[in-house]
């Protein structure tokens, strides 16, 4: 799975959540903050989107990736703070091998 395909999956998932749950979606880009004061998602949204991305990667690419991290909710060091940082994190997870 290449990085640009992964970013597309993330953007699509974030926008789907915002349309369904928040009633609208501004276009999300790589540097968009996913959560926090100016983030695209509320806390439920972040969890929902990460779970959805795990499942889409498993369904479309047959790869198990685990998006669980002790820094998940940290506004300064979370690997999930922006779309780019999430994409980098997933690429590292994929390179490290299957989650289970």
């Amino acid at each position: 799975m290449d990085r640009s395909a992964l970013v597309s999956v993330i953007v699509e998932t974030v926008e789907d959540y915002r349309v369904t749950m928040l009633g609208g979606a501004d276009p999300a880009g790589g540097s968009s903050r996913l959560f926090g004061p100016s983030g695209l998602l509320d806390s439920l949204g972040l969890v929902s989107v990460l779970v959805e991305i795990e499942q889409k990667i498993a369904d479309r690419h047959g790869v198990a990736v685990s998006l669980m991290d002790d820094r998940a909710m940290s506004e300064s060091s979370s690997p999930f703070r922006t779309i780019d940082s999430l994409a980098d994190y997933v690429m590292r997870q994929l390179a490290a091998g299957p989650a289970s």
Partner: protein, 233 residues
């Protein structure tokens, strides 16, 4: 998106878990049960999977299998549990770790992976299991009761985290019920325990099923974060 009528019951090989699994299957759920060992029973709409709830990888694979086969999950009965009656000063460390691993850590792993399947449908019912040994502070049950205290706190906090996703989380504390779990406890101790309850009789599997029915029904969407003891400790 409507939730599929699919239930997962842990510790389904025997005791309360088996009874609830049979009960939900009879009520039209597709039921997946799990335990470390193979089950020696079966009913229509029931499938048994061998999995240790204390093993994170096995739990992830168990729920991935449910997602693949059923497309989702609406009910989790988190009933796998082990006990060991002993004085704290005589309890080996390995026993402490084994009890906490199955009763608490296992419950966390299964609830976490199950909730992931429930989130998409914005509906889910998680029923954890505790014990009247928590409020009764029974001597000889310190480690078992402490592991279940952790389950109760976990239940309350998880209810807050999952409430916005339409998932309720509650805990059931059965009165002493004659299962393998209580078989190692001297009869006199159990009788004394029953005498401390408001309803002075042994619990039955039907008592537990009745409460589970209430907690999993769609109309119970506002009942969450509760620990309900049977028998009135």
């Amino acid at each position: 998106m409507s939730a599929p009528r699919v239930a997962l019951v842990t510790g389904a090989r025997k005791g309360i878990g088996r009874h609830i699994a049979e009960h939900l299957a009879a009520r039209g759920y597709a039921v997946v049960g799990c335990s470390r060992g193979a089950a020696d029973w079966s009913v229509p709409s029931y499938e048994h999977v061998q999995a240790d709830v204390g093993d994170e990888g096995q739990v992830v694979r168990l729920l991935a299998g449910i997602r693949e086969k059923h497309g989702g999950l609406s009910v989790l009965i988190n009933s796998a549990g082990i006990a060991s009656m002993n004085a704290v000063l005589l309890t080996p460390g390995a026993t402490v770790e084994r009890i906490v691993r199955t009763n608490f850590i296992g419950a966390v792993f299964v609830a976490r992976e199950s909730a992931k399947l429930m989130m998409k449908a914005r509906f889910g019912r998680i029923v954890n299991f505790t014990t009247v040994a928590v409020p009764l502070e029974l001597e000889g049950e310190a480690i078992y009761a402490a592991s279940k205290s952790a389950v109760e706190t976990f239940t309350r906090v998880l209810a807050h985290e999952l409430g916005p996703a339409g998932i309720t989380v509650n805990a059931v504390g059965p009165a002493p019920t004659e299962t393998d779990l209580t078989r190692g406890v001297p009869r006199a101790k159990l009788d004394a325990l029953v005498d401390r309850l408001a309803i002075r009789r042994y619990g039955t599997l039907e008592d537990v099923a009745n409460l589970v029915d209430f907690l999993v029904r769609p109309e119970s969407g506002a009942v969450t974060g509760q620990t309900i003891y049977l028998g009135g400790p």
